[in-house]
């Protein structure tokens, strides 16, 4: 078993288990046994549990923000007008695509993003902000440009409303979908849900202040 094998087996198991139960609720022993590696391997390869958590986020946020930057570059270079709906579509499409092509589950990362906000892990928030703050600010800036005349404070509150609706809904996607399927017999796919989310989120961002 080569090093990269052990490392990625740990990351794979940690990713799934963290998304399922959270960080504190997942022990290194659970991770290493489901990964089929020795307990001490985590501390050997990652140093500590904190650094393992950060590595899990790094592995999906780096390709994601990279793909988003490329997509935004492409649109800007092509001179396409950047509308609110267009930007949201880019965000969601890249989020789905950059993960799906690795055969990984988009909902899982939404759950992880939700945990990063909710859980009591100061180091994680600091890590994400310092590492990916620029990507966030660029997207937010373009979105603000697509909403001229909106005062900045209102814009940022609505940006958080939008993030909340997105992260919260998609991180519970499987549970919500199961409820709706049971109550209405109508099953909906993740792309369909995103097609519902784009106009709804756009309407929230664009509504005239009372």
């Amino acid at each position: 078993m080569s090093q990269t094998d052990t490392v990625s087996r740990i990351l794979d198991a940690a990713e799934v288990l963290f998304a399922e139960r959270g960080f504190t609720e997942t022990s290194l022993r659970t991770i290493t046994t489901t990964a089929g590696v020795n307990l001490a391997a985590v501390n050997y390869h990652f140093g500590s549990k904190k650094e393992l958590i950060q590595a899990v986020f790094e592995r999906f946020l780096t390709p994601f923000t990279g793909a988003l930057a490329a997509e935004l570059d492409r649109r800007v270079a092509a001179g396409e007008p950047l509308t609110v709906e267009g930007l949201l579509e880019s965000l969601y499409r890249v989020g789905m695509g950059s993960l799906a092509e690795q055969g990984r589950d988009p909902q899982r990362f939404m759950r992880l993003l939700g945990l990063a906000y909710t859980q009591y892990q100061g180091h994680l928030r600091r890590f994400i902000v310092s590492r990916y703050g620029d990507s966030y600010r660029r997207f937010a800036g373009l979105l603000a440009q697509a909403l001229p005349g909106l005062d900045p404070v209102t814009f940022y509150w609505r940006l958080y409303f939008m993030l909340g609706a997105t992260i919260f809904t998609l991180s519970s996607y499987d549970a919500i979908e199961a409820i709706l399927r049971e109550d209405f017999g109508a099953q909906s796919s993740l792309p369909e849900t995103l097609e519902r989310l784009v106009p709804a989120a756009a309407a929230m961002l664009k509504v005239d202040s009372q």
Copy 2:
């Protein structure tokens, strides 16, 4: 020290600490020492940590859903037309009021609600659904009536979008407010934020499907 004293001191401490750090990250020893009671008191009065968590939720959800029911009754009895904005205002006003009058912090309960969704505590979700599911369904039903012609599946997805925006934003209210205050020097109160949230959430619910 009377029984109710010890019980409510434990609940007070647990409420604050749970909201701050989550359930697993808060030990019974931390709770009991900040409450100034003996460690064994939790198991004596509540049975287990799980039941303490449920008791914390019961103490604020029961008055909240009660006040919401009364408010909805009042509006229905008065023959007031129930608009989307009106229902959201009722929801938020009751949420603020029923807690503020007890001198408790509304954001704290939003954080707890957010945790109930995010954290890996199956018993909690089951407890809340079985205990307060009726209140939820009544509010959702009235909101659906205020949105005639909207197909049910789309309505429910948007309801979750709205819940996500609300819970997510308000549970991180203090952090978001601090960021905006630093970047724009404009400080906003919780009522002001809810005034921004009502039209934004209403617009999301009401937007014509593409």
